[in-house]
């Protein structure tokens, strides 16, 4: 059935960014409709409720939409990419899968051009963003220990930390032996009941859905409050195009429902929160009229400068039982020791390292797959599987610098279930990033050795882990060098906003969602504050 709705603002996507925008607008009395192509997923459906969860996450609950192939997903063409972006289409978006590591960028991240002579500075500073971070943290009940010396004074958390556990204590002792920075993890995981979140009971499967409802996935927090404040959420609604009128202003969004019906919501403003792949895809799908190369794309930068934070890991196995099946996961501890440019390095910028537990015996087997056959299978198998209790995973997000050739385009032949062009990702890992990865594999191996690991297994690149989708509609003051301004407003289309990871000018190396949501809050507040000045689109199409 075809529906025609009217709203003041339409938000596209209900992940962390869309949820924060929707809530902020609705709470301010704005009439807002949020369109989400996915559905609600109840925590009772998550794989961790079943003993065979380790098999269920291989396909049905895989992070990679190309493997999962769910009804709400769209495929991503990756044959010209070194890595495969992963995400989830659901109410709450990819946050149902995220680890909820809640880490802010550092002050230097906003000034990379000035400090290190590479990439570009952001149009805002750490200090400008900080109050928005603090507000989101309070809303979510982020857990951590204040006073991390890797940050300027004033970084405090509203909830106490999770235990370090045996895993964290052993890893931290190794860092102390080396004299390197570490700090207890900061996680958007409730240590105690908080608003609509339950208490974490350390089930350890945070990255495949929290069965306890303790992790701050945005279907459980922000969206419920947004709906209570009057926001309308439409699920199973795949936006096919943002419409624009003859004056170039956005007039609303078309969406296709699950029965293939075509619908439209007319609005005075459109906020795109479809993530660093989905947002440029939609802007490119919305070409036409005043925007022949895609909506808001006069700079030609929509889809360009994709950054994915390539990850490397070293898993260490220890003699002692570390209860490595226990969560949260979530970061146990993190280290910013090699985050910054140093004269002695052969690369600029650096990486953010963190510890995770290693839940599950099949995961222990997976970690050993590249070892010689006889060391994993047959007589060795039970012993290797048994290592699940004594594992520590050190992982690094590396800072990949923006490159215009790393980009999202529309694939000429691949389509989603509704016949819309799928995004094609063209992404190559740069030399600087490769050096950061190699360096961190060597350091993480040393860290395990210092902590007493019996054996270590390095993975130089985690090809299917990039859930950090950044840079493809970046902010800036210069319309020729950026897609949107520092409030997410498109330079070309003053009533169109972007509020997700596409905004990032550089990627930093911190997990991005804390920054994404702080930016989203700042943008939503700006929309509320300037609502009276929004231009009125002439000639609403469709």
């Amino acid at each position: 059935m075809s529906e025609r709705l009217q709203a003041e603002v339409v938000v596209i996507g209900s992940g962390p960014s869309g949820a924060v925008v929707t809530h902020t607008l609705a709470s301010a009395g704005v009439d807002v409709v949020c369109l989400e192509q996915g559905d609600w997923i109840n925590p009772s459906e998550f794989p961790a409720n079943e003993p065979e969860w380790e098999l269920l996450i291989q396909q049905r609950w895989a992070h990679d939409p190309n493997v999962r192939n769910g009804a709400a997903d769209y495929p991503v063409e990756v044959s010209d990419s070194d890595m495969w972006p992963v995400m989830l289409s659901a109410v709450g978006g990819t946050s149902l899968f995220y680890g909820a590591e809640w880490v802010r960028l550092l002050p230097s991240d906003f000034r990379v051009r000035s400090l290190d002579g590479v990439a570009e500075d952001w149009p805002i500073s750490y200090e400008e963003l900080k109050p928005f971070h603090d507000e989101v943290d309070r809303f979510l009940g982020v857990s951590g220990v204040g006073g991390d010396p890797a940050y300027p004074e004033g970084l405090e958390y509203p909830m106490p930390p999770h235990p370090l556990g045996k895993v964290g204590m052993v890893a931290a002792a190794g860092m102390n032996a080396l004299g390197w920075h570490w700090w207890p993890g900061a996680n958007a995981i409730a240590v105690d009941r908080h608003k609509t979140l339950e208490r974490c009971v350390r089930r350890g499967t945070c990255e495949w859905g929290c069965p306890a409802g303790a992790k701050a996935s945005f279907d459980l927090i922000y969206l419920p409050q947004a709906i209570a404040a009057g926001a309308r959420l439409v699920t199973g609604a795949r936006v096919s195009r943002i419409e624009s009128g003859p004056d170039g202003l956005a007039t609303g969004a078309h969406w296709i429902d699950r029965d293939g019906g075509e619908n439209f919501v007319a609005a005075k403003a459109v906020v795109v929160c479809a993530n660093g792949i989905g947002t440029p895809r939609l802007l490119l799908l919305s070409a036409g009229g005043a925007h022949p190369d895609g909506l808001a794309n006069s700079s030609g930068l929509v889809g360009r400068n994709l950054m994915l934070h390539p990850n490397c890991t070293v898993t260490g196995y220890y003699e002692d039982d570390l209860e490595s099946w226990k969560g949260p996961a979530g970061e146990t501890i993190h280290s910013m020791e090699f985050y910054e440019t140093r004269p002695e390095h052969d690369f600029v910028r650096g990486g953010k390292m963190n510890v995770l537990p290693t839940p599950g015996p099949l995961a222990a087997i997976e970690a050993h797959r590249d070892q010689p056959f006889e060391e994993v299978w047959g007589g060795a198998f039970a012993e290797v599987a048994g290592r699940h209790r004594s594992g520590i995973l050190w992982a690094t997000n590396s800072e990949d610098l923006p490159e215009e050739t790393n980009r999202v385009v529309l694939d000429p032949s691949l389509t989603d279930g509704d016949g819309l062009a799928a995004p094609k990702v063209e992404y190559r890992i740069g030399d600087n990033t490769r050096r950061i990865l190699d360096f961190h594999v060597a350091r993480m191996t040393e860290m395990h050795e210092a902590a007493g690991a019996a054996r270590t297994i390095p993975v130089g690149l985690w090809v299917d882990q990039p859930g950090h989708l950044l840079g493809t509609a970046r902010m800036g003051d210069d319309p020729a060098r950026s897609v949107v301004d520092s409030f997410g407003r498109a330079h070309d289309v003053p009533n169109l906003f972007v509020a997700d990871g596409s905004l990032f000018v550089t990627g930093g190396a911190a997990n991005p969602t804390a920054t994404i949501t702080a930016l989203a809050l700042r943008i939503a507040r700006h929309i509320v504050a300037t609502a009276a000045e929004l231009p009125t689109p002439s000639g609403a199409a469709a």
Partner: protein, 143 residues
């Protein structure tokens, strides 16, 4: 649940024979000697319904080989046909790891609720483990 068809006796036998090569030979009973393995194998196949045909065909392709021949064929498959070996080994070995007796022998309680004691985090930090980091002082770069 997607639902997969029942295995024939020959298919089941072939899968268990693969499982014995991949998981047997250590201190624990091999899958063919582990009570309940057959039921957990069904459950594992169901969890990887997408790979059912591939897994069964891969196991049947090793039919008629001696145990040593099967082992060598699996070793070669792990090198030359990685996706196929991944699916086959995940299902047959994953099934064995689901058997309660095996899980308890491996010290795996499952992803159970294990709420932290209220003072656990604080008492770990009170050991002074964070002191060297604090003593070193700020490390952030002025911007």
């Amino acid at each position: 649940m997607n639902g997969v068809r029942e295995l024939t006796a020959a298919e089941r036998e072939a899968l268990v024979a693969v499982a014995d090569v991949l998981c047997g030979g250590g201190a624990l009973p091999a899958p063919s000697e582990t009570r309940g393995y057959a039921e957990w194998l069904d459950r594992a196949l169901e969890a990887r319904a997408d790979a059912f045909d591939e897994v069964v065909a891969a196991a049947l392709s090793l039919d008629g080989l001696s145990a040593a021949g099967r082992r060598e064929a699996l070793r070669l498959m792990s090198i030359d046909q990685r996706p196929r070996f991944h699916a086959l080994s995940s299902v047959v070995a994953g099934a064995w790891l689901l058997v309660p007796e095996i899980r308890s022998a491996l010290g795996y309680p499952g992803q159970i609720a294990a709420p932290a004691a209220f003072d656990e985090a604080a008492s770990q930090l009170e050991t002074g483990i964070l002191d060297p980091v604090i003593e070193r002082g700020p490390i952030y770069r002025e911007a």
